[in-house]
């Protein structure tokens, strides 16, 4: 013990850093900030340290070459002792870090922490969010599998829409004319050198400001921020009702970080590493590429935007969003901090969470994608074939063979791209069905050229049989009157 303290004294005599560390650790913070709400930033930092360690460990084996990256990931998963676990820790660590950064951001937003004098802390925080997402995206690329390959294609397609210089940006992004070796190498450089460098620098500035300006006090409704008086009021508060950060508040940070790291270790053990999916061979086209969890919302938005709005939304949307976040402290740098008196702030958070959550949920089910093998892999349920005529069954066959099932579901099985057809006969008359099949429309391709008249007749006969028992199919009223006149008023009741 004596030896340790004498080594410490020897070091500090030369480093001259001990008093600074002690002052920083023991600086007074408002008592109420020693709260379980104030632990998310430090937990995100703990996960970041974890990411650095596991990232270096992965780099011992990983080969950043388009021709070999995938097999080096296979070696990590299967050959290297516990390579799978390090991959799992790094992959889940990415999700944990994005989640913690988002939760931290929501907390400081609701607690008004971005107001004077902490505007720059917030702005650096916005950049930290962006570089964290940048790490998540480039990391997904380094897992060089089919999802990574086609994900890069999506990124390139989005970048190409920038007016005038779009194609040049694509070449720069890919490092050449196609997604290939140069692409992976530059994403490796970004993921391992450039973005982590930025991340460390931003974290340094962010923490420095938290220490220098003091942690945001617990917001009290009615206690307003005024530039002229805030600093004085804050110091009075910490003097009157403060306590040293260590050990007053830090134990909660430590407890929560330990909990998070333990959860991360458990998730990685229980769920294992992400992929890699199939090899990045673009001639294998039997693939359904999907982005990682935190980009699923974008995947959903891209399929719901009308074609005309897509390019403007893709290019202007992010700029507006980021600008709004950056300008926030300037637009409302003073005034009320408590979320209890900021209904608009609470509603904004709720709206963003509900919207992003809904899009993410939708993207996990991809109702907009055709089910590519439904026509050959998912049979028509029995109830739609029972007691049908030969012609109707012939139509059911056409329904399968012509891939209608890829976009339309029957009995909740099959594609969700188009409407479910379980009771389509209630909605469309025979004429309308024929027209819809032949001409398409409403986001359905026209099948006129691809169906013989006999096939169309059979298909429509099958579709007309799709209605619940006891409910008659839709009928063209004018036809009924015409047939009534002909048969002398005997109303037909057959379906």
């Amino acid at each position: 013990m004596r030896l340790i303290s004498s080594i410490g004294e020897w070091l500090d005599e030369r480093l001259q850093i001990g008093s600074t560390i002690r002052e920083t650790a023991e600086h007074e913070v408002p008592r109420k900030t020693a709260s379980w709400f104030y632990v998310f930033g430090s937990a995100a930092f703990a996960v970041f340290i974890m990411q650095i360690v596991t990232g270096i460990l992965l780099a011992l084996i990983y080969v950043p070459s388009a021709g070999q990256a995938w097999s080096s990931l296979q070696a990590l998963n299967h050959d290297v002792a516990l390579g799978w676990y390090i991959r799992a820790l790094h992959g889940w660590g990415s999700d944990f870090m994005v989640a913690l950064v988002l939760i931290h951001m929501i907390q400081v937003f609701l607690f008004g922490a971005y107001k004077y004098p902490r505007e720059l802390t917030w702005i650096v925080g916005v950049f930290l969010l962006l570089v964290t997402l940048g790490m998540a995206f480039t990391g997904q690329v380094l897992r060089f599998d089919q999802d990574a390959y086609w994900g890069l294609g999506i990124g390139a397609s989005i970048a190409s829409r920038v007016p005038l210089i779009g194609p040049l940006i694509v070449n720069l992004l890919l490092g050449g004319p196609i997604i290939a070796g140069a692409t992976l190498s530059r994403f490796f450089a970004l993921h391992v050198f450039v973005i982590p460098g930025l991340l460390i620098a931003f974290i340094g500035v962010h923490l420095l400001m938290v220490v220098k300006l003091g942690i945001n006090e617990w917001p009290m409704p009615g206690r307003l921020v005024r530039k002229a008086t805030y600093i004085k009021e804050y110091h009075e508060l910490t003097k009157k009702d403060g306590m040293p950060f260590v050990p007053g508040a830090i134990w909660k940070d430590l407890f929560f970080s330990a909990l998070i790291l333990f959860s991360l270790a458990f998730f990685a053990y229980h769920f294992g590493p992400f992929g890699p999916s199939g090899p990045p061979d673009p001639t294998i086209i039997q693939t359904v590429p999907r982005p990682d969890f935190f980009f699923l919302w974008l995947y959903a938005i891209l399929s719901y935007l009308p074609a005309s709005m897509e390019t403007p939304a893709l290019l202007i949307g992010p700029v507006v969003g980021i600008l709004a976040l950056l300008l926030l402290p300037f637009l409302s740098g003073e005034g009320e901090k408590s979320w209890r008196r900021r209904p608009l702030a609470v509603l904004t958070v709720l709206l963003a969470v509900v919207a992003l959550g809904t899009f993410t949920h939708l993207a996990q089910h991809t109702p907009w994608s055709p089910v590519m093998d439904a026509w050959s892999g998912i049979p028509i349920p029995n109830q739609f074939l029972k007691n049908r005529t030969a012609l109707e069954r012939q139509g059911a066959l056409v329904f399968q063979v012509k891939q209608c099932h890829n976009c339309h579901s029957l009995g909740n099985e099959g594609g969700k791209r188009g409407p479910a057809l379980d009771s389509v006969a209630l909605r469309l008359t025979q004429d309308q069905l024929i027209r819809q099949v032949i001409q398409g429309g409403g986001n359905m391709p026209a099948y006129g050229k691809n169906l013989s008249p006999a096939e169309t007749t059979a298909l429509v006969a099958f579709l007309e049989s799709l209605h619940p028992t006891g409910q008659p199919p839709a009928r063209d009223a004018s036809r009924t009157i015409a047939s009534d006149a002909k048969t002398g008023g005997a109303a037909s009741s057959s379906p």
Partner: protein
């Protein structure tokens, strides 16, 4: 020592030192920027485009659409499988062809051909195209990208090498008007 202008000698030397470093920085910026922009400048100077053989004409029967693959003409030894690119070849009537890029005109996912319904379908966001590449439905704003082709010595060639993207002005891609 202070010069007649009122600037001390040391301050002047410091300014000169900053000036020298700025000049060196500027000189070094040129090769660095040139290096970073090489993916652009290389493509524009020599052109990424080249005629690539897809195979003998017999591989593409009349009236059918078949998958073809080619090795990208601009390639590095460490590219692995990524330099193998797929495309769809449609033999329209035995004499004329259409060669479509594998990439959906929406966001570049690989489209699949369904000969039964004569449609190309995209697994990502549900874009669909007719057999002639025209847009049928879904989010794409246009039809499939189409390569220029030529027939030489019984072989089918296309002009390729750049991944087609919606914003591309490159002449390798023929535009197809979306279906009304």
């Amino acid at each position: 020592m202070t010069l007649p202008t009122g600037i001390s000698r040391r301050a002047l030397l410091t300014k000169l030192g900053i000036f020298f470093n700025s000049v060196v920085a500027l000189i070094l910026t040129v090769p660095v920027v040139r290096y970073l922009l090489s993916p652009i400048t290389r493509g524009r100077k020599d052109g990424y485009d080249a005629w690539v053989p897809l195979g003998n004409l017999e591989q593409f029967p009349s009236g059918e659409t078949r998958l073809a693959t080619y090795r990208n003409p601009v390639v590095n030894s460490w590219d692995g499988d990524t330099a193998d690119i797929a495309c769809w070849v449609r033999n329209v009537d035995g004499a004329s062809f259409q060669v479509f890029a594998i990439n959906c005109a929406h966001l570049g996912c690989p489209v699949r051909w369904f000969p039964q319904s004569n449609l190309f379908m995209c697994p990502c966001h549900g874009g669909a195209y007719y057999q002639d590449g025209a847009r049928a439905s879904g989010p794409p704003e246009r039809g499939l990208f189409e390569y220029h082709y030529k027939i030489d010595g019984g072989k089918l060639f296309i002009r390729a090498s750049e991944m087609p993207t919606p914003g591309q002005a490159s002449n390798i891609v023929r535009g197809i008007q979306p279906c009304a």
